[in-house]
């Protein structure tokens, strides 16, 4: 009797469920119907579990109840609110927390670069480890491999290739931190060694100044982001190695989710740096002063996005009352 009485309500609910679960802007009346059905369905489920535990009816009611619950308690999506929260509160807080690690990574990177410089400067044959045969031949002719790059690749294509590559390196530095931070150490050390080695090799042929001129417009942002990605990688590694009062998976989850929040603006800036590297860096029409201005300007913009936006009026409210615990 009870099944017959309630079956009409269940049929009605079955028709509502897809709309409640999937629609971004469901009809308010329909949502109200679903809200009213929620406690009724809970009661039906309780009855079904008590009177016929394990029955298909109980299972189906359980499924319907889970779907209704999921639909009704779906988190609200507001892009504007999310962006203000992200740049006004979360990104600056996480960047501030990671600042010491970022500094340590930067020091480690420059130490590795110094080692790379010293190795190639004192053993020129090691240049083969950091440069391809074609690069070596070009430099030995007194030219940089970056010169005439635009004759081979159009700027647009070059930009995409570069920022895709940089994003992959940053993501790898981030993800490989999961191996107790070791993967990140290898990536930072390897990139540092290669950069130092390449500069030493260019310097041997009197081209270090021109190489620096090529790098200066995009290098500040790219290197800073690699440092940030590596610092996140280290924090992930540390979370696994030393989870403190959390379980390892909880600590890992927290470190990754915080790192991913910080990576979001970084990836946007990597795209910007890729565009600069494709359009500005290989173009001889840009003098050194303009390159420096672009490089330092974009770097300051990155710093603003990572910490300074909370000082702007629109973000101040969102950034207020940030509790240490939220970090």
């Amino acid at each position: 009797m009870w099944i017959a009485q309630r079956s009409a309500a269940w049929r009605q609910l079955a028709a509502l469920l897809p709309e409640v679960e999937d629609s971004r802007c469901a009809d308010p009346e329909l949502v109200l119907d679903a809200v009213r059905s929620y406690p009724e369905l809970a009661r039906d489920l309780a009855v079904a579990r008590r009177t016929s535990p394990g029955s298909a009816l109980a299972q189906q009611l359980e499924q319907a109840y889970a779907r209704l619950h999921r639909g009704l308690f779906r988190p609200a999506v507001s892009l504007r609110h999310d962006l203000v929260r992200l740049f006004g509160r979360e990104v600056p807080a996480i960047a501030r927390d990671l600042r010491h690690r970022i500094l340590i990574v930067a020091i480690g990177f420059f130490l590795a670069a110094s080692a790379g410089w010293w190795l190639v400067a004192s053993h020129p044959e090691l240049a083969r480890l950091v440069a391809s045969e074609k690069m070596i031949e070009t430099v030995q002719r007194g030219q940089l491999w970056t010169e005439g790059l635009l004759n081979i690749w159009p700027s647009s294509l070059l930009s995409v290739r570069i920022f895709a590559n940089n994003i992959v390196v940053a993501i790898m530095a981030f993800c490989l931190g999961s191996i107790y931070g070791l993967g990140t150490i290898y990536i930072v050390a390897l990139n540092g060694l290669m950069l130092g080695g390449v500069f030493a090799f260019a310097a041997q042929h009197g081209l270090a100044g021109r190489l620096l001129e090529f790098v200066v417009a995009h290098g500040f942002v790219e290197l800073t982001i690699i440092f940030i990605a590596a610092a996140i990688g280290f924090s992930i590694g540390e979370a696994i190695a030393r989870p403190a009062h959390r379980t390892r998976s909880q600590a890992f989850q927290r470190a990754v989710s915080r790192g991913a929040v910080l990576m979001l603006p970084c990836i946007l800036f990597l795209i910007g740096a890729g565009l600069i590297e494709g359009y500005v860096s290989p173009n001889p029409a840009f003098p050194l002063a303009a390159r420096l201005a672009i490089g330092i300007g974009s770097w300051l913009l990155l710093l603003l996005a990572l910490g300074g936006l909370r000082t702007l009026p629109g973000f101040r409210v969102a950034g207020r009352n940030v509790k240490r615990d939220e970090h």
Partner: protein, 243 residues
């Protein structure tokens, strides 16, 4: 909330907790294989068709390097292949066509629809799960973790669960087809819920069962001899029994 090795308990405000079955390696890889074929087919279709339309040659992009070709042919194909999962999982609230077919969906650890951030993190960590090749790391962690989680799931706080609404249409027949919703109240009182459910189940699967099986099951439920009637008569009697 965890209810056990293979179920995720979802607490609700009414105090009526429900448990969702966690999808293991089978459900997960089944969904992935379907999705992989869809995205590779989509990417190749875009590559071939756009190349054909722009250059009259299916493989023009392989031979040439220029900006138009890259942005019109190669880049969209890569976007389809690489961003298929994050975009569709966000748009479909934790599902993709492959997951839908496999009957699984991603939920947050509390059973709710995962946030956009969680879905992005989950996909970002595919890089790690896919190492060194063929998702070896992801498969290994799925095998050793209690809730069959890959690293991306652990990081994002998500769980892959079976979503019966799409996975088991036959079992969903209670209010969809000829099931209990249409059963007369006195039939339940007379036969008991368990028997009525069995009859409804048999009727909903009548066409997919082989003749011998459905005749044998019908006879057993009607407590008659298997040769007592034709198949059509058995079906009619079963329908009468619960109507």
């Amino acid at each position: 909330m965890n209810a056990g090795a293979d179920r995720l308990r979802v607490a609700s405000v009414t105090g009526m907790d429900v448990e969702l079955p966690i999808a293991g390696l089978g459900g997960r890889s089944y969904a992935f294989v379907i999705d992989w074929h869809i995205r590779i087919a989509g990417a190749l279709a875009w590559f071939g068709l756009s190349s054909l339309i722009l250059y009259g040659d299916l493989l023009a992009a392989v031979a040439e390097v220029n900006a138009l070709l890259f942005f019109a042919v190669v880049a969209p194909s890569l976007v389809i292949y690489l961003l298929y999962h994050p975009i569709l999982e966000i748009a479909m609230h934790g599902r993709t066509p492959g997951k839908r077919i496999a009957g699984v969906r991603i939920v947050a650890a509390d059973g709710h629809v995962p946030s956009v951030g969680a879905l992005l993190i989950r996909n970002l960590l595919r890089t790690l799960d896919s190492l060194p090749a063929l998702y070896v790391v992801g498969l290994a962690t799925t095998l050793v973790t209690r809730q069959a989680l890959r690293i991306g799931d652990i990081a994002a706080g998500t769980v892959l669960v079976y979503d019966d609404a799409d996975a088991r249409p036959a079992r969903n027949s209670i209010w969809r087809t000829s099931g209990l919703a249409n059963v007369e109240a006195d039939a339940v009182a007379r036969l008991g819920l368990e028997r009525v459910e069995l009859v409804c189940e048999l009727l909903s699967r009548w066409d997919v069962l082989d003749a011998g099986t459905r005749r044998r099951l019908a006879a057993r439920l009607l407590e008659e001899d298997a040769d007592a009637a034709t198949e059509a008569e058995f079906k009619g009697r079963l329908q009468e029994l619960v109507r």
